[in-house]
Amino acid sequence: MTVAEVEAVTSGIEGPPAGLWRDAWRRVRHNPGAIVGFSVVALFIVVAVFAPLIAPYPPNDQDLSLLAKGCCPGPSWSHLMGVDDLGRDEFSRVVYGTRYSLVIGVVAVTVGLSIGMLLGAVAGFFGGATDNIVMRGMDIMLAIPGLLLAIGIAAMLGPGIWQVMLAVGIASVPIFARLLRGTVLGQRESDYVLAARSTGVRRRSILSSHILPNSMSPVIVAGTLAMATAIIDVAGLGFLGLGPQDPATPEWGTMLTNADRYLGTAAFLALFPGLAIVIVVLGFNLIGDGLREALDPKLRGRV
């Protein structure tokens, strides 16, 4: 360490400010919660990718001989999470279920985020009548409680896993639209936008290459947290019976639909898919919280 560096440290002068992203990354790495969250999600991604290698049986393989002594055999060494009412290995089904949960989270959030961002950015940037029309539309959607709106859209699209993802995504559009409109409005009046405008940059490229990149951090946080909500909501719709109609689909929410019937005899059938949902959702929530702290400008520069 040179004298100048020591001086800088002792007198509290910081070096040149690191970029927003590098600074944020540094703070995320020092946040134990976020590390746990990233590890959990990484683990689930690995399980999802290598599901055929991890699962000891195919998820839909029925072995009715296992049910000879009544339903349903509990956890054992050959069936870690027991056997369900159709003689299928519960562990294998939970493992394959990770694939669904992650795809569900990504698809639902992508749908909600892209439509919501487009509407919010347009409303915030153009203002006036456009803003009014778009945001009143969002108000109308927000007048119906979120889960109920998703149920309504799912009913319209018909039952099925893709329909449910789409429904949960569309139901989250107004939240993203409001968020982005708010941040874009804040950025629109800033000096760098004025500078870009005065040098003759076209309106569309001001929006796409100046305002949007600077409005990203709240969207990233909201997107991560929305991933958690989406997984819960899709599981909820699956539980209500609006999800995949093929009972062979190892989607966690759908797996819980029938759990009620076996609550007295085989409660573990409800426990494992439910725990899987809780853990993956917990992971996304931890990441979201960590990112929020890391990207909050008020907290920048601190560890």
Binding site: I140, P145, I151, L240, A267, L282, N285, L286
Partner: protein
């Protein structure tokens, strides 16, 4: 203040009109027509035509929308296809069940969430603080229906302490003047019935209240932490007020502002979550009714039910805004 309320009320009109339009279009976009649902697949073309004429479905869509607005505005919501009873009668019986449930859930969430958040903020950075953060993290990460199933398994199936389904024991003889069963028991001086209805509410209320509990605890904690560092709190302490008085009069009163808004916003989560909770605990409320209506293709019930819930939700939000304006003068003028 009056201007603030009037302006908020006027802003409601476009939302309500848009809402009615949205629900009108949505009902018509649902798969399967009421004709199929009511007459069956083997109806003759003549019967279908008569049916369409009878219900005005042969007229232009604008006329149909106008008629729908007129009948809805007069409080007429049609007849349920599944139960053959007026939708308004169904709502009168089922809505109290849902309100009773959401109120109980809210009480649970506030009574536990507020102290949890305050204690966490007071003991900032300690094990207590971390524990409360962890509890609220679990609270927002656990699906309502999964928590409901676990509670039902533990306390109803395993331990047998609490009932697992319904609003009241069928063997209990009770009158229901208001359809709020707990209240009914109290007003008819039937304390056994009131107690039984309360026991039926405990598990669903805990399951449904878990998310608001977590959110209220988090927001209270953050808000108390914010206010604690304000200049006026330091001044209050500096002039020698007892810590108790500072906490109650200066910190808590100001910290509760954001918390009240959050509490109002939770109502939507509760109304949505009621669908799941009522399904698990077989409660005959609005939520389980809407769910059944979807599977029965009971469009009048769906249309009326969702419109009713949305209007209630909008009114609650308005009430929250007005309350917020009342307790926070800074909002009123802007």
């Amino acid at each position: 203040m009056l201007r603030f309320v009037v302006r908020r009320l006027l802003l409601l009109i476009p939302v309500l009109i848009g809402l009615s339009l949205l629900i009108f279009v949505w009902i018509r976009a649902l798969p399967g027509t009421p004709v199929d649902a009511l007459l069956g697949e083997r109806a003759t073309p003549k019967a279908v035509a008569e049916f369409r004429q009878h219900y005005g479905m042969d007229r232009p869509i604008f006329v149909q929308y106008w008629d729908y607005l007129k009948t809805t505005a007069s409080g007429e919501l049609g007849t349920s296809v599944a139960s053959h009873r007026p939708v308004t009668t169904e709502i009168r019986e089922r809505f109290p069940a849902t309100i009773e449930l959401t109120m109980a859930a809210m009480m649970f969430a506030i009574c536990l969430g507020l102290p949890l958040g305050m204690i966490a903020a007071k003991r900032y950075g300690t094990a207590t603080d971390h524990a409360s953060l962890f509890v609220s993290l679990i609270g927002i990460s656990i699906p309502i229906f999964f928590l409901a199933i676990i509670l039902k398994y533990l306390f109803a199936v395993r331990l047998g302490w609490l009932p697992s389904v319904g609003r009241q024991d069928v063997l209990i003889d009770a009158r229901h003047p208001t359809n709020f069963y707990v209240l009914d028991g109290i007003v008819t001086d039937n304390w056994a019935a009131a107690w039984d209805a309360t026991k039926h509410l405990i598990l669903p209320a805990i399951a449904l209240g878990s998310i608001p509990l977590a959110i209220i605890a988090r927001v209270t904690r953050a808000s108390v932490l914010d206010v604690q560092n304000e200049d006026y709190v330091r001044t209050a302490r500096a002039k020698g007020l007892s810590p108790r008085v500072v906490d109650r009069r200066h910190v808590l009163r100001n910290a509760l502002l954001p918390v009240t808004t959050i509490i109002g916003l939770q109502f939507g989560i509760l109304l949505g979550g009621a669908v799941l909770t009522e399904t698990v605990f077989a409660l005959p409320g609005m939520g389980s009714w809407v769910k059944e209506a979807i599977f029965n293709h009971d469009y009048p019930a769906l249309q009326g039910g969702i419109l009713f819930i949305a209007v209630i939700f909008v009114l609650v939000n308005l009430l929250v805004d007005i309350t917020y304006g009342l307790i926070n003068p800074r909002i009123r003028v802007s």
